[in-house]
C-alpha cells in the first residue's frame, strides 16, 4: 500500500475515524493503530509479519529482563541476545544474497562450478526491516543504559515497532521519542490538522511530481545508455538523481510525519535542506537525520567519537560511515559510497585542524565555495547509489555521445528542484506558516488540489526507492 495510492488515502481516513472515535479508550485506540499497522504491513507480503512479530517478542522480553536484573553480566547477556537476534535476522535477509554472490565468485575464481550453490536460498528482503530493526535495537540499548523503562505492555511496544506511518521507510523513531507519547492524552487541534495536511500534501508532491518525473524522464533514460548522451546530459542526469532520491525519501518522510501528526503523534524530522549544506559533516546533520543521529549515538560515540588521537577519530568516522552505507544495501557500490563519505569527513577534519579550528565559511564568497564543493560531492557520490554496477563508472564519467534529446518534463522537474531546494530555508518555512494559518477549509482545499495533481501524475506503480532498504 503505497502512500501515493488512493487505497492508502482511504485506509488513513478509516483509521483516523476509528482512532478518534475511540480517543478516550486507551487500550481500544492503540489496538486500532496496531491492527491497522499490521494490516498495512501485511499488504506487501503476509509472511513479513512473522519477522516483525519475532523482533517485537524478542526485544520486549529482552527489555524486561534487562530492566529486571541488577547483575551487570546478566543484563549484558540479555542485551547481546537482543542484538544477536535482531542482527542475525537483518543480516540473513539483507546480506545473504550478497554472500551467495560472493561465494559464487569465489567458486568461479578457483575453477569450481558455482551452479552447485543453487541451493542457497536468496530470500526476498522484507520492506522496512532495516528501519524497524534499528528502532527495536534502540529500545533494548536505552534500557540497558538506564535511559528508558520498559514499555507498559506488550501491545504498546508492538505499536512502537509497527506504527504504520513510519514503519517501512522511517524516520527511525527511538523508543524514548515514541513511548512517552502513548501516555499523553491524544492531541488534536487546528495547528496539528493543518500541519499534518500540509506535510502529507507536500510529501506527495515531492515524491510524484519531483522524484518520479525526474526518474522517468531524465535519470532512467540516461542510465539505460549513458555512453550515448552528450556530456551536458551526464551532468543533468547526475543532478537529476540527487534531487530524485531526495524527493523520494524526503517525500516519504513528510507523509509519515504528517500522517502521524493527524493521529496525535510527533515523529522526528528526517531532512533539513541537505543540499544547502556547506560541508559533508553538515550534510549528514541534514540528510536522513534519524539514521545519522542513531548511528552517532549508538556507534560513533561508543567507539570514542571525536575523542582520542586523530587516527582513532578517523577510524571511528570510517566505521560509522561504512555502517551507514551498508545499512542501505549489500553491494560494493555502497561500500565505496561509505568510504568516500568517511574519507571526506576525515579530510574536512584535517583541514579544520590546519586552520586551528577556525571555520572556513567566514565570508559569503567562502560560504558559496564551501556550498558548491559540498553539493557537488554529494551529487558525485550519489552516483554509487544509482549505478547498477561499478562498470557504469566509465560510461557515466569517462565517455559521452551525441544524443541530446531530453524530455521537457525532466528539465522542468530539475529546474523546479533547484529553485525550491536552494531557496533560503526561511522562504519555504514562511510559505508553510502562511498556508497553515489559512482557515481549515482552505488548507484542506489546497491539500485536495495537491492530491489531484498527484493523481494526474501517477501512472502505474512507482515504489519509493527507500523501501528496498
Amino acid at each position: 500500500m503505497e502512500f501515493h495510492s488512493a487505497r492508502f488515502g482511504l485506509f488513513l481516513a478509516v483509521v483516523l475515524l476509528l482512532y478518534w472515535s475511540l480517543a478516550n479508550r486507551r487500550g481500544a485506540r492503540y489496538a486500532v493503530l496496531l491492527v491497522a499497522s499490521y494490516v498495512f504491513y501485511a499488504g506487501w507480503e503476509l509472511w513479513f509479519l512473522s519477522l516483525i512479530v519475532f523482533s517485537t517478542f524478542l526485544d520486549y522480553f529482552c527489555g524486561r529482563a534487562i530492566h529486571a536484573s541488577e547483575d551487570p553480566r546478566t543484563r549484558r547477556r540479555w542485551l547481546y541476545a537482543s542484538l544477536g537476534g535482531n542482527l542475525a535476522v537483518l543480516g540473513y535477509f539483507k546480506y545473504s544474497a550478497w554472500g551467495a554472490d560472493g561465494l559464487a565468485s569465489l567458486f568461479a575464481a578457483v575453477g569450481l562450478d558455482p551452479s552447485g550453490l543453487s541451493w542457497v536460498w536468496r530470500a526476498a528482503v522484507p520492506v522496512g526491516i532495516s528501519f524497524y530493526t534499528f528502532q527495536t535495537l534502540s529500545y533494548t540499548i536505552d534500557i540497558y543504559r538506564g535511559k528508558l523503562r520498559p514499555a507498559r505492555s506488550f501491545g504498546e511496544f508492538a505499536l512502537f515497532v509497527a506504527f504504520f506511518p513510519q514503519l517501512v521507510a522511517g524516520p527511525i523513531v527511538r523508543a524514548v521519542q515514541f513511548l512517552p507519547q502513548l501516555d499523553l492524552r491524544p492531541r488534536f487541534d487546528r495547528a496539528r490538522l493543518h500541519d499534518g495536511l500540509y506535510r502529507i500534501g507536500t510529501g506527495l508532491l515531492k515524491k510524484v511530481l519531483l522524484a518520479d518525473v525526474l526518474g522517468r524522464y531524465l535519470v532512467d533514460p540516461f542510465y539505460s545508455a549513458p555512453e550515448s548522451y552528450a556530456w551536458w546530459v551526464h551532468v543533468l542526469a547526475l543532478y537529476g538523481f540527487a534531487f530524485q532520491i531526495y524527493g523520494d525519501f524526503a517525500g516519504y518522510s513528510d507523509v509519515a510525519i504528517g500522517a502521524a501528526r493527524l493521529l496525535g503523534f510527533d515523529l522526528p524530522e528526517n531532512f533539513d535542506g541537505p543540499y544547502r549544506s556547506r560541508s559533508v559533516r553538515e550534510f549528514w546533520r541534514r540528510w536522513h537525520i534519524s539514521l545519522s543521529s542513531w548511528v552517532r549515538d549508538y556507534i560513533y560515540f561508543p567507539l570514542g567519537g571525536s575523542r582520542g588521537s586523530e587516527l582513532k577519530v578517523a577510524r571511528n568516522l570510517f566505521v560509522t560511515m561504512l555502517i551507514i552505507a551498508v545499512w542501505h544495501g549489500s553491494s560494493l557500490l555502497w561500500v565505496i559510497y561509505g568510504l568516500l563519505q568517511g574519507g571526506a569527513l576525515v579530510l574536512e577534519r584535517a583541514l579544520e585542524r590546519r586552520r586551528g579550528g577556525e571555520p572556513f565559511t567566514t565570508t559569503p564568497v567562502r560560504s558559496l565555495v564551501a556550498w558548491f564543493a559540498a553539493f557537488h560531492f554529494a551529487v558525485f557520490t550519489e552516483f554509487f547509489i544509482r549505478a547498477e554496477s561499478l562498470g557504469q563508472f566509465g560510461a557515466v564519467f569517462g565517455t559521452s555521445g551525441e544524443e541530446t534529446a531530453v524530455h521537457t518534463f525532466g528539465l522542468l522537474a530539475l529546474a523546479g528542484a533547484f529553485a525550491t531546494h536552494l531557496l533560503p530555508g526561511r522562504t519555504s518555512e514562511g510559505f508553510r506558516a502562511r498556508v497553515c494559518a489559512l482557515p481549515t477549509a482552505a488548507v484542506a482545499l489546497l491539500f485536495g488540489v495537491a492530491c489531484g495533481l498527484v493523481a494526474i501524475a501517477v501512472v502505474g506503480e512507482t515504489p519509493f526507492i527507500y523501501f528496498q532498504f
Binding site: A23, S228, A444, L445, G448
Partner: protein
C-alpha cells in the same frame, strides 16, 4: 540499576491526564471538514483536467457509447458540425437501399487516425475514406464506396471484432484493418479482457472479483458514476494496472526487446488471434483482408523518435538507437508468419511531421491534407498489388449483392 526517569510519572502525561477526556465531536468535525474540502480540491483538479483531456469519457454528448464485447463503439445517429454517424455506426453516409448491386465496397477499421479524430477533427467528407473513393472513381473507374469504420481509441482487437460484426451488414469486398506498432493498437488496453457480463451488463473483472456479491450493485453504480463524471478516475482505470498495463510496457512499441515479456506475449497473442478470426470470417464470405501498417505518432520524424526512445526506456520503448522503421519490419514478419496480407504506409507517413503545418491537426492526428496524402498512398497499394482489382471485380460480378 534504577532508570533516571519513570514514564508513568512524566510531567506531560500528568498534565494530559489532568486535562480530562478528549472532546471527540470537534475532532471528528474537523476531520470531516478537511475530508470534504479535500474532495472539493480533487474535484476541481478533475474538472480542469477533464477539459484538457479530450479522450476520456463515454457520456451522452460523446460520439461514443458503451458496447458489450467491443467495450465502446460509435453512437449511431450522433451528429455535430464535422460528423454524422450512420445507423451502422460508421463515420460515413448511409448506404442507400438502391446502391448498385455490383459496386465495390472498401471498409476501413482502426483507431482515431482512421476515424479522423483529434482535438480539431477534419470534416467527415475530408478524411481518407471519401478522398480514396474520389480517387478510385477518377483513377480506376467503376462504382466504389469507401466506408470509414474508424472508432476513437480502438485497439486492433476491438477493430477486428468490429469489422467481423460489420461483414454481414456492409458486405464489403475489401477490408482494411489499420494497425500501428504501439501499445494501444497491439496490446489492447481497452478492457475487452478486463470485463465480463454480470446481470446483463459488462462489468470490470477486478471489481467483480474483489467485492462481495451483495455490494456489487452499489460498487458498480459508483464505478459507472465515476467513469461518466471523473476524468481522473477514467485515466486511472485506463492506464493503471487495474485495466491497463503495468508501467514497464506503458509506452510499449513493438520490438525484439520485449517479445519475452509475459504481458507482451499475451497481448500480441490475443491481437493476432483476433486478426486471424477476422481473416477467417473474411475468407468465408469471399472478402479480401489487408492489414495496413501505419506509423505511430512518435515515428513521424527522427526527432520525435529519439525523444520517445530517451523518455520511455523503462516503459517499453525499444533500446536507444533502434531504427525508426524497425517496429514495422518486425510487425511485417509477424504478419507474414501467420499468412496475413499487409500493406505499409510507412513511406507516405514519414513526411507527415516534416510537413506538419498542413498534414497534422495535432501531434498525432492527420489534417484533411494529411488524410488526402494517406488516401493517395492507399490507392497506390490497391492499384499496385497485382491482380487485386481484377479479383475484387470478378468476385462481385459473380455474386452481386441481393442475388441470394
Amino acid at each position: 540499576m534504577a532508570p533516571p526517569s519513570d514514564r508513568a510519572d512524566d510531567g506531560d502525561a500528568a498534565v494530559a491526564r489532568a486535562e480530562g477526556p478528549v472532546r471527540r465531536a470537534p475532532v471528528l468535525l474537523g476531520l470531516l471538514q478537511a475530508f470534504l474540502f479535500a474532495l472539493v480540491g480533487v474535484a476541481l483538479v478533475d474538472v480542469v483536467y477533464g477539459r484538457v483531456d479530450s479522450d476520456r469519457n463515454l457520456s451522452a454528448d460523446s460520439p461514443l457509447e458503451p458496447a458489450e464485447y467491443l467495450v465502446w463503439k460509435n453512437r449511431p445517429g450522433f451528429t455535430n458540425e464535422t460528423t454524422r454517424i450512420s445507423s451502422l455506426g460508421l463515420r460515413s453516409a448511409e448506404i442507400p437501399a438502391d446502391a448498385p448491386a455490383e459496386e465495390l465496397r472498401v471498409l476501413g477499421v482502426g483507431p482515431s487516425l482512421v476515424y479522423g479524430g483529434g482535438p480539431d477533427p477534419p470534416h467527415m467528407d475530408r478524411v481518407w475514406a471519401p478522398f480514396l473513393e474520389q480517387r478510385l472513381h477518377a483513377d480506376v473507374g467503376g462504382e466504389w464506396r469507401v466506408l470509414n469504420g474508424g472508432v476513437n481509441g480502438y485497439s486492433t482487437v476491438q477493430a477486428a471484432r468490429w469489422a467481423l460484426q460489420l461483414l454481414p451488414r456492409v458486405e464489403p469486398d475489401l477490408v482494411l484493418l489499420f494497425v500501428t506498432p504501439g501499445r494501444i493498437s497491439l496490446l489492447d488496453p481497452s478492457g475487452t479482457r478486463k470485463s465480463r457480463p454480470w446481470r446483463g451488463r459488462p462489468a470490470p473483472n477486478d471489481l467483480l472479483d474483489r467485492w462481495p456479491e451483495p455490494l456489487l450493485p452499489a460498487v458498480l453504480a459508483v464505478h459507472d458514476l465515476l467513469m461518466a463524471r471523473s476524468s481522473l478516475y477514467v485515466r486511472h482505470r485506463r492506464s493503471g494496472p487495474l485495466e491497463g498495463h503495468p508501467d514497464h510496457v506503458h509506452r510499449f512499441m513493438l520490438g525484439e526487446h520485449l517479445l519475452d515479456d509475459p504481458w507482451v506475449q499475451d497481448g500480441l497473442a490475443r491481437t493476432f488471434a483476433e486478426i486471424e478470426m477476422l481473416a477467417e470470417g473474411c475468407a468465408e464470405r469471399g472478402v479480401e483482408l489487408r492489414v495496413v501498417q501505419l506509423l505511430d505518432g512518435v515515428q513521424y520524424s527522427s526527432r520525435r523518435w529519439n525523444i520517445y526512445l530517451s523518455g520511455a526506456q523503462q516503459r517499453g520503448a525499444p533500446p536507444i538507437r533502434t531504427k525508426r522503421t524497425e517496429p514495422q519490419r518486425l510487425l511485417g514478419e509477424l504478419l507474414d508468419e501467420r499468412g496475413l496480407a499487409w500493406w505499409t504506409l510507412q513511406d507516405a507517413m514519414s513526411v507527415l511531421d516534416a510537413r506538419h503545418h498542413w498534414t497534422l491537426s495535432d501531434r498525432i492526428h492527420w489534417s484533411a491534407d494529411g488524410h488526402e496524402l494517406v488516401a493517395g498512398a492507399l490507392l497506390e497499394e490497391l492499384v499496385g498489388e497485382a491482380g487485386l482489382l481484377d479479383l475484387l471485380r470478378s468476385r462481385r460480378a459473380a455474386a452481386p449483392r441481393g442475388s441470394d
